[in-house]
Symmetry: C2
Subunit: 375 residues, 2 copies
């Protein structure tokens, strides 16, 4: 349930992380194709066996991990099918309808100079799982993550804020497993969270959370969530939090000015291929421009451990952008907790703004830790 458009939040809705309990039995959803084949992490394996003696008679043989059904114990031959292909191609539901999972292998062109996945790559993966989640749920409409009832009303999703916490960046060739789910966020918002795990060790290596609202794609005005849309969404809502409340970066991001920015990079021009299907700049592309005003020594010697992006205005190919950065002293989280890894070595505030009228497009905050010498 993602869109790659965004616009300034002028609405008056409460987008706080409402602790709304999950509505488990909230109406029936038309056309939802639940895929339970990884239900409880057991491989479900269905066959239709046709008797050769009684040509037209079909019997359904159903097994879970080789348990016998219908008088036959059916066991898969020793092939290398330990991972379901669907998990790698388009992802699939796990835990019933609530959590959607997809596996990615870090490819050669998705890594940066230090041979690990970049923040852009991670954000691309998050977008991909979100979209596949909607498609697999059966409620998808004709748009980029919009539901059918949204498409009927020309409504689209816009992300207003996303926070990504990276414990460790995966190397080229490593496999990661991304879980995503959604929940209500106040009356007219939706929260989408993600957990990225190392596929082998199951270690959590990235956590992310985001807030979405609905916009009319023609008037570009924000909209309440229509009741019909809420009925499509709510069966999928689950009250589960990827980023713990003490680690959530909910604070306002200061707007940098010519006076407060330490470095400014002007003349950043969107390229043709930075555009999405709606001729707007793809969200993920902003990260590259933000990094343009970060000192090169920081890019070389530090890992970005956290990034919070606040999307405020759309940007098209005709816009020229300025990237501004300023170091900050702010410390996220409780100072007395024992998660020493969370304390960054560097913190920055960023602003991407239109070069002509100086209106802000994206505000951002980043945290960095010195790379380990053994890397």
């Amino acid at each position: 349930m993602a869109t790659i458009n965004k616009i300034g939040l002028q609405g008056k809705w409460n987008l706080s992380n409402a602790k709304k309990e999950n509505v488990m039995n909230n109406g029936k959803v038309l056309g939802v194709d639940f895929n339970y084949s990884h239900y409880h992490n057991k491989r479900r394996f269905s066959l239709v066996i046709k008797s050769c003696n009684h040509g037209s008679t079909y019997k359904k043989v159903d097994t879970i991990n080789g348990t016998k059904v219908n008088g036959l114990q059916v066991v898969e031959a020793p092939k290398k099918l330990s991972t379901d292909v669907a998990l790698v191609t388009n992802g699939k539901f796990v835990e019933g309808r609530f959590v959607f999972r997809q596996i990615f292998v870090i490819r050669s062109y998705e890594i940066g100079p230090d041979r690990t996945a970049t923040m852009e790559t991670l954000m691309n993966f998050l977008q991909e799982t979100a979209l596949n989640h909607v498609t697999s749920s059966g409620i998808g409409g004709d748009g980029f993550g919009a539901t059918r009832e949204m498409s009927l009303r020309k409504l689209i999703w816009v992300v207003t804020r996303i926070q990504v916490q990276v414990q460790r960046y995966s190397k080229w060739g490593e496999e990661i497993e991304i879980d995503t789910w959604v929940d209500a966020a106040g009356k007219n918002g939706m929260r989408r969270d993600w957990i990225i795990r190392d596929r082998c060790t199951k270690e959590i290596i990235t956590k992310a959370t985001s807030t979405w609202v609905i916009m009319n794609r023609e008037t570009r005005r924000l909209s309440k969530i229509p009741e019909e849309v809420r009925r499509e969404l709510s069966p999928f809502y689950i009250h589960r939090i990827a980023v713990a409340s003490e680690e959530r970066d909910c604070e306002k991001i200061d707007k940098l000015t010519d006076g407060t920015a330490e470095t400014t990079q002007s003349g950043l021009a969107p390229r043709w291929n930075d555009m999405d299907v709606n001729q707007h700049v793809n969200n993920v592309k902003y990260i590259g421009w933000i990094l343009e005003s970060v000192p090169i020594k920081v890019l070389e010697d530090y890992n970005m451990t956290s990034m919070t992006l606040e999307f405020r205005r759309e940007c098209t190919q005709s816009n020229m952008l300025e990237s501004m950065t300023c170091p900050t002293e702010r410390v996220i989280g409780e100072s007395d907790n024992n998660s020493v890894n969370r304390k960054p070595d560097l913190q920055y505030t960023h602003l991407l703004r239109l070069q002509d009228d100086k209106r802000d497009v994206v505000r951002a905050r980043s945290e960095w830790k010195l790379k380990q010498s053994q890397q």
Copy 2:
């Protein structure tokens, strides 16, 4: 066997497409893992059936595409387990050791404004299959596609020329199947070809061919192929051509000048994330810059059906680039053949050059066809 570095070709080797016959039985290659489960494009599907009445007795039931075996016709239920996971994650060998195959699903962030895969995406896929080919072959060294004997000698691959012919761009969510293989190209070069097929229909939708030479990564000088390296490579060589000789774009690409270029876009600055592991600009990134000097109406209304890139000089982050484009009248291929689809509506010559001393980095040629109105 790819690298993302490139440098001007100053060598004197014959890189013509030598019709060297394949050396079929030329030595044993350590660690090659052949996987035949897609042998002859038939889905092979094995089950072990255990009778419930005679607990310990196993009978092997083997079916190919649902043909009956052992008195039972076993038909797969409509599940999507037809693909071997390895094909999707890292690719695998087909046809013995000679052809390497990988499947890709076009992801949401790999498409352009018209919702189809971009030329950059295709080139990324080509690079990925090439690298996975080397890794899977068991001869890979520590570098980006270098063999062990190359790594021992500090040698790397550099691509000097690549031609990509696109019949049709795949849409978001479509599955494609890429085959790649290598052959000798003259005495000191290697040719790598690719065929991209629609995974469902098997229709060929893209063909590509490239020429590679070896360079010393410290002196940056071109090198002959050492005998030890040739012994690693030659068991994988197969004489097979993706792009037919009459469609090969072997002609010299004219160098544009301020006088001949019709449009010039200056001030193109590589971003941090455009760099590869060697701190040089990744090959694929050049395409975006080349498109910067193509008229926007062409990008909107035409599909690029062919691109030939000639890599001439390395580029680092400190370099500023200029992109130049000029329409040309040249027609590729025989004018009297019947492949009417091959005749482009537009042709362009391109040059990417360093802004300060005007030395050329990449020369390119592109062909375009008007988009179908029904698209």
